[in-house]
Symmetry: C2
Subunit: 323 residues, 2 copies
């Protein structure tokens, strides 16, 4: 990344803005058309007044960059926006609750605000997948399924460079595959037995607590004051028997979830992201072991790789949307 | 449908051939560009000599039609072929075992044989889905998942008029969703717990036999000399308690399978076809009941309809591929 004064020369062509609108901050990326992130900054997400200030703040940010850098509007190839909610192909959002937004065409609204510049809008999880597809862990693959394991279990499906959105914006909702047969508690979504219930960061902790209650064996996990998915994976790697059982249980369901995804879309590659993916190769190999146990044979050699762009993935994907 | 002598005037424009190549017969459809089936005939599938006669037979059939009808080659918009096996986007097949074929580009080969006419090739299950999407039960919908319940459980995913093939030609393999948790026997594919094991025609019979062995209750099914999925659904409709339990068990898994499909691709509509779908509204309503129990809420109102084209669906889809 370079200092601001050199963006224009660094881009060597038109520039693209890739903007990832989150509930707390708006991540603003300035990209070259060949996918280099030239500048990365964050501005706060102002949710007052029904979220009506968010787009004006982004407009002000972009105009300031253009002014400082001496870049004309004609040199902007387009602006991509990632938003936390369902988006239709024409850029209409259907209630982004985290932003206070109702139903309106964000692409048209922001393009009008920006003097007619090309604006594209996508769902944030799909944008993260598109970013990893474009410039991240799945750069070398043509169709991918991304699985983000964090607070929840989300995902994105990219086929031939395009995110699969679904009729209700609910495609690639891998966390809500109903595959945990004997689940007795409810998922946040109101159903029982979603993958997310055992494989999100809090789901993994829940599984560990259950195992500690139902099993007698000693475990270093029993002495942990603040349990987390990270600690569970660390203890499993260190050889703790109970922690290993927990990670095997969790990854068996993740492997089965990926096998379901393969049976439906048969991607060239799976990309695993989100905070829990910091467990690294141990996690990937364990998911792969169970994936191979469950998957229909034509898809048995599908690659499973780690995401590499972290929190920048959404900006990359939003920028890619414009191309 | 009209007699052969009127095809040219009936078509009111160019014609399309939609050819569904099966293991026993080749179904040959002559279509108008607006989707009317003007002529339907079958020729035997000659599998001698490594299947090398099949394309020549189709060529001879088409040339005969053109000659009899006084149709010039220029009046043929294209020829679509459905084949029983995986096909890549450029029309290359990867071993159609049922036809004796190895690996070759069927689209190019047949186009060369036919003097350069546009030829497109697709997988037969995808073609059936595309046919139902174009002119069948899913005519009014933009994205569909078709589930064919017969000898096996197969399917097709259509998004924006295009079949989702997958990297290994293994997308939409709904029958191999690994969702039957406690299965002890092996599926034909070598895994345990595939949807197909409890929901194909023979899978349904297997479930009925298990229920008859493990349950004491009397049932009209116990007197049936040759058990079939059809008889089981007929007896369930007639009120037989054990038959009802079997159909509830089967449709619970079908509903869960559709919920998995919705979590991945979120279609506008599900289309249920294949021999077992003759069980009609009873089957559809039971699948829908369990679908709603398992599906992630944004997709809860997705329509579930019956296929209407029967064995003609593959011809329709092959023809649609050319457009």
């Amino acid at each position: 990344m370079r200092t601001m004064s050199s963006i224009k020369s660094e881009a060597a062509g038109k520039i693209i803005f890739g903007i990832d609108i989150g509930g707390t901050t708006v991540k603003c990326g300035t990209f070259s058309q060949d996918g280099r992130l030239l500048l990365k900054e964050e501005i706060p997400t102002r949710k007052d007044e029904g979220g009506s200030l968010i787009l004006s703040d982004i407009k002000a940010y972009i105009e300031n960059i253009l002014l400082k850098e001496g870049i004309a509007l004609e040199e902007v190839a387009g602006i991509g926006l990632g938003v936390p909610g369902a988006v239709t192909d024409d850029g209409t959002v259907n209630k982004c609750i985290n932003l206070g937004w109702g139903v309106f065409n964000v692409a048209k609204t922001f393009s009008d605000m920006m003097g007619g510049v090309l604006v594209k809008v996508g769902n944030d999880a799909n944008m993260a997948a598109l970013g990893e597809y474009w410039m991240g862990g799945a750069k070398d693959y043509n169709s991918i399924v991304m699985v983000t394991i964090g607070t929840g279990v989300g995902g994105g499906v990219i086929v031939d460079g395009k995110a699969l959105c679904g009729n209700n914006g609910a495609a690639a909702e891998i966390g809500h595959l109903p595959i945990v047969e004997d689940e007795t508690e409810y998922c946040n979504c109101g159903k029982k037995g979603c993958l997310e219930q055992v494989a999100s960061a809090s789901g993994i902790v829940r599984v560990a607590n259950r195992f500690m209650q139902s099993l007698e064996e000693p475990s270093s996990l029993r002495d942990v004051p603040y349990m987390s998915a990270r600690i569970i994976f660390d203890e499993a790697k260190a050889g703790d028997g109970l922690a290993i059982k927990v990670t095997e249980y969790v990854c068996r369901y993740l492997g089965k979830g990926l096998a379901c995804a393969a049976a439906m879309v048969d991607p060239e590659c799976f990309v695993i992201g989100g905070g829990v993916s910091n467990a690294g190769d141990y996690l990937i190999r364990l998911i792969e072991k169970y994936y191979k146990e469950f998957v229909f044979h034509p898809s048995k050699d599908t690659k499973i790789v780690r995401a590499v762009l972290g929190n920048d993935a959404g900006m990359y994907g939003a920028a890619r949307l414009v191309l």
